[in-house]
């Protein structure tokens, strides 16, 4: 009982390896097929969800809020699907939010740069030199994207258990290496790691529900207890805390809600529970 999170600098390669790994180990594959579920659950069009995953990060305005909300709903849906265990996940940015779950094997796949350049050059009908520049630009945008939304640099190897470079190693061999690694007992689900996953799922579900009305909330969960942190002015914090509490209490799995409204100006915390 474990899960494999695959991230890659090439969507095609990453997906191919994730699919093959899932087939080899008889695991469920979780990919972009999950987006319609997220779309119907949170009322965001599927195209917007895809846009949120692919587009450069927006830093302000309505677009930024929508991108954040879309990513939050993808996160909640993915974590919910991961609760079923024995899954291989790719293309849903799970490597950025499945953190601190000991039974998750996090793998980064690096495609052969020459192959990537050639593909890009053919697809975009540009010279190889230009495709190199475009790829470099894409890599920098992805790095900024992951840092903006998850405060994690996705190119940092220390974020993964294993990084496989496909310049020399072919897909089938990469799959064998992943399968051999995940077979270790350390990647078996334990009571505590499952609890951590359930907590993360509940927190993300609450956060996804709140983000529409309250764009700046931070949510943590421990068991059925949910702690929501937000900012408000001296005048509206009581009202705000009550509104959040009322909304969160209706969510499945929530037993107790604690809302901390920090004063936006003095940063002094006020607690309402």
């Amino acid at each position: 009982m474990s899960m494999i999170i695959i991230s890659s600098d090439s969507n095609e390669k990453g997906e191919e390896i994730a699919h093959t790994t899932a087939r080899t180990l008889n695991y469920t594959f979780l990919g972009r097929d999950l987006l319609p579920v997220a779309a119907s659950r949170y009322g965001i069009p599927q195209e917007k969800l895809e846009w949120a995953l692919e587009a450069p990060p927006r830093s302000w305005g309505g677009a930024a809020r929508l991108q954040r909300r879309a990513l939050s709903s993808i996160q909640a849906t993915t974590l919910g699907a991961l609760l079923a265990d024995n899954a291989v996940c790719h293309g849903l940015a799970a490597h950025l939010y499945v953190v601190g779950i000991s039974h998750a094997l996090r793998v980064r796949i690096l495609a052969d740069p020459t192959e990537l350049e050639r593909e890009m050059s053919e697809n975009q009908a540009v010279a190889l030199e230009k495709s190199r520049i475009l790829l470099d630009r894409r890599r920098r945008v992805r790095q900024r994207w992951s840092l903006t939304f998850f405060q994690i640099d996705e190119t940092d190897p220390s974020r993964y258990d294993l990084v496989i470079n496909l310049s020399q190693i072919v897909t089938e061999e990469a799959v064998k290496i992943i399968a051999q690694t995940v077979a270790h007992r350390r990647f078996a689900a334990m009571t505590y790691s499952l609890k951590c996953l359930r907590d993360a799922e509940l927190a993300s579900r609450v956060s996804a529900g709140l983000l529409e009305k309250f764009p700046k909330v931070k949510v943590r969960a421990d068991g059925g207890t949910v702690i929501v942190e937000t900012k408000g002015t001296r005048f509206n914090k009581m009202k705000r805390a009550a509104a959040i509490k009322a909304q969160v209490q209706g969510i499945e799995g929530v037993e107790y809600v604690e809302v901390h409204v920090k004063n936006g100006l003095s940063k002094k915390s006020a607690t309402d529970s």
Binding site: T155, S158, L162, V163, N165, E173, K176, T181, H184, F187
Partner: protein, 270 residues
């Protein structure tokens, strides 16, 4: 059979992994031996070589010849060791010094800073702050070394075939994965791979012979045919040709040597 280079930070358990891989595969495990070889062969004190491969060059050193020469000697010693095949090298820059050799499996071992600090505290009996600052300084020094001399970042995963994080993976797990990867067909010593390795040794020998006098020399060798590139103008061409003629007789494996002056060396040159 393969050549395995293991790049590691200090206290990141790379040495333990290398030793376990070497013992499991029956390979030779080398690190300091390369420096000793270079020290013996080129008559340079080992400490100077250690500093050359560890400390990032200062502005003055970048202009000077010494560091470049020492690195050329170390590269030459490493290439000669690697030619024997079935070698695990754990030390600095193995993946860069043996660049272009197809049967080299390039591995990087990383581990969490906190674990590294703990290991250093235990081994060196120092407090946490000292250990942490030493490790961070060491990491930065290595980063600057690679950036200055090769224009690359050692933390870039694209430089390696495998990056293994010792945290959930243990030393034994990492060693098992490396052993499995080393047995892949791509890392077999084919006739072409052996030829490339022989050519690298020849190129390194020629470079080592030239580097003390001419730092900006770049050497390429293909099937024993050696091309020497020198950025300096044609006024030294005659001197280079004289030396090349002499070296053709002295270095085994050289069929023919050509000197090209005023032309920058290609990226694959040593």
């Amino acid at each position: 059979m393969a050549i395995i280079t293991i790049s590691r930070g200090s206290y990141s358990k790379g040495k333990e992994v290398a030793e376990e891989v070497a013992s499991a595969l029956g390979y030779e495990c080398v690190s300091r031996e390369v420096l000793l070889d270079a020290s013996d062969r080129f008559n340079i004190p080992e400490m100077r070589l250690v500093r050359a491969i560890h400390d990032a060059p200062s502005i003055l050193e970048r202009l000077g010849r010494e560091k470049q020469a020492y690195i050329a000697y170390i590269r030459c010693a490493l290439a000669r060791r690697a030619r024997k095949d079935n070698v695990v090298y754990h030390g600095l820059a193995g993946h860069l010094l043996l660049k272009g050799i197809p049967h080299v499996l390039k591995v990087r071992i990383i581990s969490d800073l906190e674990d590294r600090v703990k290991s250093e505290m235990e081994r060196e009996r120092m407090n946490e702050q000292e250990a942490r600052s030493l490790i961070l300084r060491d990491d930065e020094e290595r980063r600057r070394w690679t950036r200055t001399l090769f224009g690359l970042d050692p933390w870039d995963s694209a430089l390696y075939d495998l990056v293994l994080h010792i945290r959930k993976l243990t030393v034994a797990d990492a060693a098992a994965l490396i052993c499995k990867a080393a047995k892949l067909k791509q890392f077999e010593t084919t006739r072409e791979a052996r030829q490339k390795m022989d050519d690298l040794v020849v190129a390194c020998e020629v470079k080592a012979a030239f580097v003390e006098e001419y730092t900006d020399v770049g050497v390429v060798c293909e099937f024993g045919n050696v091309l020497i590139y020198c950025k300096s103008g044609e006024r030294i061409e005659h001197k280079l040709q004289e030396k090349a003629k002499k070296l053709t007789r002295e270095i085994s494996g050289v069929h023919h040597m050509e000197v090209h002056c005023g032309i920058p060396a290609p990226a694959r040159a040593v």
